[in-house]
């Protein structure tokens, strides 16, 4: 599988490490080169410095060949815009967008983006744990 990941924070780096280790082709983008220190020494993918809402940067990371695009920067609107570019312009078959803001998450889910909202997931999980104890 060819995967492009936008954002090399904790989630992005972990995802990149796991997928690379499993033998997938990974391209990862971050606006700061320093972020790539989170990648494991065995990471064999491609690292690209730049902003994810710049088409040139996305192309350098391999967006035109990608099977999967995951947008996991800490900025919701960057994730939303980059995901739509991946989906509408580059026709990436599977696009996943992280959105922290629950309201925006709901809005874009109804508009057809496949989203993950850590805020509601985390709160829901903690609530479940409380109810069980």
């Amino acid at each position: 599988m060819r995967v492009v990941i936008l954002g090399c924070g904790r989630v992005g780096a972990r995802l990149a490490n796991v997928l690379s280790h499993a033998g997938h082709t990974v391209g990862i983008i971050d606006k700061s080169a320093d972020a790539f220190r989170r990648l494991a020494p065995g990471f064999r993918g491609l690292t690209v410095v730049g902003t994810g809402i710049d088409e040139d940067v996305l192309r350098r990371a391999g967006i035109d060949q990608a099977d999967v695009f995951a947008a996991v920067t800490d900025a919701d609107n960057t994730n939303i815009m980059a995901s739509q570019v991946a989906e509408v312009i580059y026709r990436v078959p599977k696009v996943i967008t992280r959105i922290y803001d629950p309201i925006r998450n709901e809005a874009y889910q109804t508009l057809g983006l496949e989203t993950v909202c850590p805020t509601t997931l985390g709160a829901e999980r903690i609530k479940q744990m409380l109810e069980r104890s």
């Binding site: 809402i53 919701d76 609107n77 815009m81 309201i103 925006r104 809005a107």
Partner: protein, 218 residues
């Protein structure tokens, strides 16, 4: 007209001020408290504090009855999200986004934003206007139709000098609309002959601009 302006920087501020002076109802949405205070002091209670990309903020601003939502923050991705939420969630008819990276113009168009304003492109067109006789100056580009109206000055060594329009082969789908010579303005016919120094306004397809330029300017 009710206009919601998202982003209270310099562009948002002066846009709102101009709209208010023209008698429109305006609301500015701005994140930063300091900027909000400054705007309120200068323009009165036409500003609300919040993140315009959040649906609840736009809802509180009465986006559902807005005639136009304009997004003029300094970040393209924020402007995109604001316009999309305004359009799809609140049914706003007309959304206008400011673009900082000119390359994003095409993306915004594909993603359904009605109109975009790129300050980089605007400044470029002014710079072009300051460089005399070097290139065709863009007066207007009709994006959807893929045509543009350009202006240029016929140079002395251009092959069209002294020729009548009916004897000049223009690039395909190009028309000369107007010839300005000294104080005279000519709406040309086939018998109009071009002279060096004539200012010409022409309509052309975007992809023919280069050919038109080499013909008129050399």
């Amino acid at each position: 007209m009710y206009v919601v302006v998202c982003g209270g920087g310099k562009v948002g501020f002066y846009l709102a001020k101009t709209l208010i002076n023209e008698g429109h109802e305006v609301l500015i949405i701005e994140k930063d408290k300091k900027k909000c205070d400054l705007i309120a002091e200068e323009l009165g209670s036409v500003v609300t504090r919040g993140d315009a990309a959040e649906a609840s903020t736009l809802g509180d601003a009465g986006a559902n009855r807005a005639d136009v939502v304009v997004a003029v923050t300094g970040d393209d991705e924020d402007n995109l999200v604001i316009c999309q939420v305004a359009k799809r969630k609140f049914g706003v008819n007309r959304t206008i986004a400011r673009i900082n990276n000119p390359k994003n113009e095409r993306i915004f168009k594909v993603l359904g934003i009605d109109a975009t304003v790129s300050s980089t492109d605007l400044i470029m067109s002014h710079i072009e206007a300051e460089i005399p006789q070097q290139a065709l100056v863009h007066l207007l580009r009709l994006r959807q139709a893929n045509v543009e109206i350009v202006e240029g000055v016929i140079s002395a060594h251009a092959e069209v000098v002294g020729k009548k329009l009916k004897d000049i082969t223009l690039p395909p789908q190009s028309v000369i609309l107007l010839v300005a010579r000294d104080a005279e303005t000519i709406i040309p016919s086939g018998n109009t002959a071009l002279q060096a120094g004539d200012e010409v306004i022409a309509l052309t397809r975007v992809e023919q601009e280069r050919a038109l330029r080499s013909l008129l300017i050399g």
